[in-house]
Symmetry: C2
Subunit: 864 residues, 2 copies
């Protein structure tokens, strides 16, 4: 039976190692029982778990809702990787706290007023031929009708544009198939100008519309002067999608107020929610953006409002570029299928989804076959002639996302709290699963692109109620991951959203994103050009021009240069900081206490801080990123004098010095210490060279970082020697200390590199040696023995050569240590370590494996 | 063999269901192979995975670093539950965007200046007898020497205090065993006054210290006037811990600049990092806070600086309340063990950890047995006489946390990137594990309390380098979860930190946290008292006092009252908003476009917004939380006139009405619709009553929410009837529409409640019925059949009674549907549904199970 167990277990788990039968089995059993996991749960756990270092398969870019930011997480692990600062200041990233990022953030000012938040809704990835190209992300702000551009090489916001005529915009961002334009539809209708008009002027003056933001893919920027807006009636335009394939050149926007209702609950009238949902039908807006983009070139087709070009309804109608089709009342999502023929409209207050056929629509347009006109003169197509068909899905159908198989679509039902899978071509229900609770948007992988990947689906649920540990009245939202790789949808895992309410997610294969980890030395990360304040080592300086002081500073592990800055109260200060590091992930942060400034300075980056030194006093500044063991010593002082005060009375004190003899002793001590440390570093560098480290990219990165630190030693050594020759022993000691600091930083990277290189180079462990290594650790041997060096116990390299008939001797010793304590060699060892090896009650099989492991160590002795 | 497999598999996974052998096995195998998971990985996956609805065992409260906030996540799932806004404005929570939260945030102003960020470091949980009581959390800001109080009933910041004399503070917050005081130590020494002093005055004028913030546990507030500071030499105080048990009344603070070094790299001097680490020894500060708290009561023991009481060094020394003990150079963490006898000091630049014995320290103090005095006159104790002993741990020892077993401690090694487990009593190394990469703080569960729980350990790693999908030059940090329940530490999972660099975590058992999910109606969440602007339904109004306009408004699904607000340009506006919801998680958000305000209004909460209507125009406002399917219709308009302009020329328009006949038809239609919907709701309510729903708390909550919505129907119906009687058909239709809206919201909760109640009430499924249910879903039956109602296929309740010899008939029909199509009954059905059931190729065993499932359905027919 035991044998069976082993075989079966191996088969079950798909691993080829021989398992430690009873132990491993009962471990699994114990954990599942203890944690109350079913078999289905266990399978889900395996599907979402990433062991250390394993990367996710997809990125999800998720709107950060009212946080104003963008959340990025990995799928399937659902671990949040970053909140990218977009519309709200964010101090960790220095966003809105340093001068360069403020320039981006303040592009979002409206009518001269600072806006410090946003209500982000719909992220859109840049496309080529309707497929995601991984270059840019666009996100809208509903509350302030703005669009931001995020550069996915750096995961930084690079531009914000304000819509000059909309007062609100829910339906953005959506891109055309080659990202020629980013579409942003108005939501709550309002006058396009900035003037007051009473509600009674709603029909006459209030307007909706769609703005076409011209995007230049090469420089990654929206061109505001090349952008324009199509005027639309005040029907409260909602979501939009651009056509693709056969519908390329067209776009589709729905709406929810064909009633032109204007509210008034405070006057005893029914509220908007009732008034806007009275009619059975609202309007799907169908328009030809390629034609509009041609029309806008001619000034006579355009009204200019707030400096922005608007194509009036009548011009669009006259040129056959704008049409309406009825849709079931108060729809929400509108989605064009991957080949562009079908347009699926969600029926928020209707249990049916509607599938429109673009071919049928186009035929009516070409034949000028219109059912009627609306009161603004826009031709209305017949709904029946436009529909491919409808299917009853359930209550509260809001959004759609496409699956990999032809015709497959997934839809969210808000009221029923379900996701349904159906076929929009065959109009057939395929599957249905419950979510928790109340799903809004949903996203199958690349599910809004021309190349949907299926595999996983995220349900962005608005309520979490009882799903997570309670955190007070304001709950997280719940994003649920669903496996859609099989026939049935299977819920995998819940993910609480800790900040803001995400509205929509855009997912993309990880392989499509190509990021940088550092900047060219001295780069302004917002312009990607050399920074005006770029400062290399040795160029640090303070320049005064009248009452404007310019500080050119650098940061490198673990000091800031300069360390003292003395100013007069009232001085304007411009501080440039360059991070001299080349090493990945070696960010430095900078702040001056009490001054409300903060910068995050990534490797190679230069940033600018501007402030007025308007209060007298002493203000420490420091590196705010835990960059090294000596990070806390990475500091300086800004001292602000009042130029009208007399400080002559201040007693000056000096640090109490050591005596000359004491200093000489200190100097010799640190010299010896440095020599010893240096020989360790030498041996590490030799180890790297001897073993062709450069072949292993990650190892090479680490070694390069170590060498980079090491090159800084020479100049410190020089300063120390110079000081010593000038009999300044105090400084000689300190500069040698500085040499040691660089050695420690060198070792920090080098040791990491060595461990990695050893893993790459060592011979393959036999099954026995592998088990032996485990036993060695599990059994507690590694508490005292460290392979490759003497620790609380002797180094075990060569232990099989130190005794006659060594394998037998070692086995006996492990089995019963006491039996050998009287041997003269052992007596010496016990005396040296002041420790006797305990009996760890190893089994014979385990001891055999440990010896296999020792053999493997000896085979690879040169690696330790 | 097959039989063996089933038994073994069941045993392995600890579940008692009979598994579908081959299918489930190969699923496991396939997933592990596909995802490259080892056996060890699979075990870790099971240890951290929470299926939907399963709660975590521990909360971790983690400093949000430079984000200025506090991160909360669950252990072991490592899912982030919330970012609590503390020192930086955060729009999702409305923090810093509504008037009430601004009052909290602005308590943190320094010398009249707004500070909009913080560098949070060390969270501390409130204690009773040294054990966590789950009531409050304290967090410090290093950059601006501030402490914030967070109320864990609501997870909201309730107070911020500014240190009146420190310019920087790393070492906070730490509490005394009954939270009498919160300790905050200075970091970068500076003058206590706000005056300029040159660096040369460092020894004479610059000072460090420890502030004792008096905390009143009953009202949850720090009393600033009862707080005081102990003056200390400018040794750059670092971390602190308060004594407990036998060391209760004492506290311990280490430091790293016994050199009194003042930097000057820009003058060619060695930087701080070298100068501060020259000496072999720094100082552990030992002081008796209980004695200091007595001393401070007497004015003659006190200097008042910036309105704050300071006990000078000489007073503390004279009263035997302050001592120094040497510690190995540049230490970092200092931690008092659970019973208070041992103080463990980390040797940042030393490979040894030092364990001090408080009994030995106290003996020297009692005997006035001092080795020497420092230049400030503070007695220095002998290190050897104070030490219990030292142990070599490795490079870069920074922090410690205690395990459950007596004497067990875990320490972080920054340079070695390791966590070591050792025994501080026996001075013995026990285990060592690698982390990725460079660990700072670490936290075993409740590991800094008098009652450590062991189980899990979090390593807060500063670098993540290659661990996660790349996100540009600024990387996430990495918090790694380690299982410490066994003899060996086992790494479980990596967690990227997406925002800010967390410094320390404080963990607590979930059972110790007791939160609220709603406020008493009309509460100010910042004072927890009734809000001055509390507004109940029917009390909504707009009051003008000169040019100050007061708006008393309410929000409830899905409308805002009022919907129109007309103002004059220049009006000051105070807007009060009350969320009338009682339902858990039914938050509403509020913003007015272009006005940079945002409020998050939790159920029962009232908030205040203040702004000036300083630009003319039309500005929509809306609910920013996705609160219902009609959330997007929850809007209103603020209209701002220029009082100096003449708007007489504006054309007023009216919505085009329907004809009287059309309206009558609409009215009858909606009446019928509402009647139908109401009968569904009636049947739901009857279902709840008949089945004693009130016994199930979660169900009861949902039903209460449904009823709450339902009560709103009467007044709408009344308005509709009144309008109808007054021949205002337009409004009659709209108000009936409003009735329907409330019905939908009622149904939303009620349906959820029913599902849950059914789960609670249904008879237990047999193994066969369970399998049958799975097959029913997996096999696609549920695509057309919905139990309890007619869908694309007939309802299957009673299917076993509809045919003679029904079990046989149904089995045959599933096996071969075509065989029955010609039966007259089936012909009618096929005609009715316009669909023939496909052959799903079920196996006999599966069909048998499905019939078992049908039997279970019939047993519970009354539940569907």
């Amino acid at each position: 039976m035991k044998k069976y167990l082993q075989i079966v277990y191996g088969a079950l788990l798909g691993v080829l190692v021989i398992v430690q039968s009873a132990t491993a089995e009962s471990e699994f059993q114990k954990v599942m029982q203890k944690r109350g996991l079913s078999e289905k749960d266990a399978l889900a756990a395996l599907k979402v778990y990433n062991p250390s270092g394993k990367h996710d398969e997809y990125y999800a870019f998720v709107s950060g809702g009212q946080s104003g930011q963008v959340m990025v997480y990995g799928i399937p692990s659902m671990r949040i990787l970053k909140y990218i600062a977009v519309f709200a200041p964010e101090p960790w990233q220095g966003y809105g706290f340093d001068t360069d990022s403020k320039e981006i953030l303040r592009q979002g000012n409206i009518r001269g007023r600072e806006i410090n938040w946003g209500d982000t809704h719909h992220p859109a990835l840049s496309e080529s031929d309707g497929k995601y190209d991984g270059k840019y992300l666009f996100i809208n702000d509903k509350a302030n009708a703005r669009i931001a551009v995020i550069d996915l090489k750096y995961f930084e916001t690079s531009q914000i544009v304000v819509n000059p005529i909309f007062k609100s915009s829910h339906g953005g961002a959506f891109v055309t198939p080659n990202t020629d334009y980013i579409l942003e539809s108005c939501q709550y209708a309002a006058p396009f100008t900035n003037d007051y008009y009473p509600m009674e002027a709603y029909e006459e003056v209030y307007r909706g519309g769609v703005t076409f933001w011209k995007f230049d893919k090469k420089n990654g920027k929206i061109s505001q002067q090349d952008s324009f807006t199509l005027e639309l009636p005040p029907y409260m335009q909602d979501l939009t999608d651009a056509g693709k394939g056969i519908s390329d050149g067209w776009a589709f926007t729905n709406s929810f107020n064909s009633e032109l209702y204007t509210g008034g609950i405070e006057k005893g009238l029914p509220p908007f929610e009732a008034g806007c949902s009275r009619n059975d039908m609202d309007y799907l807006h169908v328009y030809n953006w390629k034609k509009l983009a041609e029309l806008v070139k001619d000034d006579k087709n355009v009204k200019v409002i707030n400096g922005h070009r608007v194509i009036p309804i009548e011009i669009a109608v006259k040129n056959n570029a704008l049409f309406l089709i009825p849709e079931n009342k108060s729809p929400h999502g509108v989605d064009v299928n991957p080949d562009g023929q079908y347009i699926i409209v969600s029926g928020k207050l209707d249990t049916h989804a509607s599938v429109y056929d673009f071919k049928k629509i186009l035929k009516q347009i070409e034949n000028k076959e219109f059912a009627s006109k609306d009161s603004y003169g826009i031709p209305i197509l017949d709904i029946k002639k436009s529909l491919h068909g409808q299917l009853e899905l359930g209550l509260g159908h809001l959004h759609n996302t496409f699956g990999k198989e032809d015709g497959t679509i997934y839809s969210s039902l808000y009221v029923d709290s379900q996701v349904v899978k159906w076929n929009y071509k065959q109009l057939k229900l395929l599957d249905r699963t419950n979510i928790h609770y109340n799903v809004g948007h949903l996203e199958a992988m690349e599910g809004k692109s021309a190349d949907p990947q299926g595999e996983y689906l995220i349900a962005l649920n608005k309520l979490s109620i009882d799903r997570f540990l309670p955190v007070g009245p304001l709950h997280p939202q719940n994003n649920q991951l669903i496996d859609i790789g099989g026939k049935k949808m299977e819920l995998l895992v819940d993910m609480p959203v800790p900040l803001g309410e995400p509205h929509q997610a855009a997912s993309i294969r990880a392989s499509k994103i190509h990021t940088e980890v550092r900047y060219n030395m001295g780069t302004n990360s917002k312009t990607l050009k050399p920074h005006v304040g770029k400062t290399l080592a040795g160029q640090e300086r303070i320049e005064r021009k009248g009452n404007h002081v310019y500080i050119y500073s650098t940061m490198v592990r673990s000091h800031i240069n300069p360390e003292h800055i003395t100013l007069n109260k009232g001085d304007k200060v411009t501080m440039y900081i360059t991070n001299l590091e080349r090493a990945q992930d070696e960010t430095h942060g900078f702040t001056i206490d009490h001054h409300n400034i903060h910068a995050s300075v990534e490797p190679g980056e230069s940033v600018q801080l501007d402030f007025v030194a308007d209060i007298e006093g002493v203000f420490p500044y420091y590196c705010t990123e835990f960059c090294s063991a000596l990070h806390i010593e990475m500091l300086g002082y800004m001292l602000v004098k009042d130029p009208n005060k007399d400080y002559g009375w201040i007693q000056k004190t000096k640090i109490k010095g050591l005596s000359k003899e004491e200093l000489q002793k200190e100097y010799e001590k640190i010299l010896a210490n440095n020599e010893a440390t240096n020989s360790v570093i030498d041996s590490l560098f030799k180890f790297f060279e001897d073993r062709g480290y450069a072949k292993y990219p990650t190892v090479k990165n680490l070694v390069d970082d170590a060498k980079d630190q090491y090159t800084k030693i020479d100049s410190e050594r020089e300063k120390a020697t110079k000081a010593y020759n000038e009999k300044n022993l105090e400084n000689a000691v300190l500069f040698e200390n500085m040499v040691w600091q660089y050695m420690i930083k060198t070792a920090d990277s080098a040791i990491r590199a060595k461990d990695l290189l050893v893993t790459n180079l060592a011979t393959k462990k036999s099954a026995g040696a592998k088990k032996g290594e485990e036993v060695f650790h599990e059994g507690g041997c590694s508490g005292c023995h460290v392979v490759g060096r003497v620790s609380s116990g002797p180094d075990l390299i060569g232990v099989l050569k130190r005794h006659r008939n060594a394998e037998k001797w070692v086995a006996e010793y492990i089995k019963n240590p006491e039996s050998k304590f009287k041997e003269p060699y052992m007596e010496r060892l016990i005396k040296f370590f002041n420790l006797k090896m305990p009996n760890q009650n190893m089994k014979d099989e385990e001891i055999k494996d440990i010896i296999e492991y020792f053999k493997w160590i000896d085979e690879n002795a040169d690696l330790f």
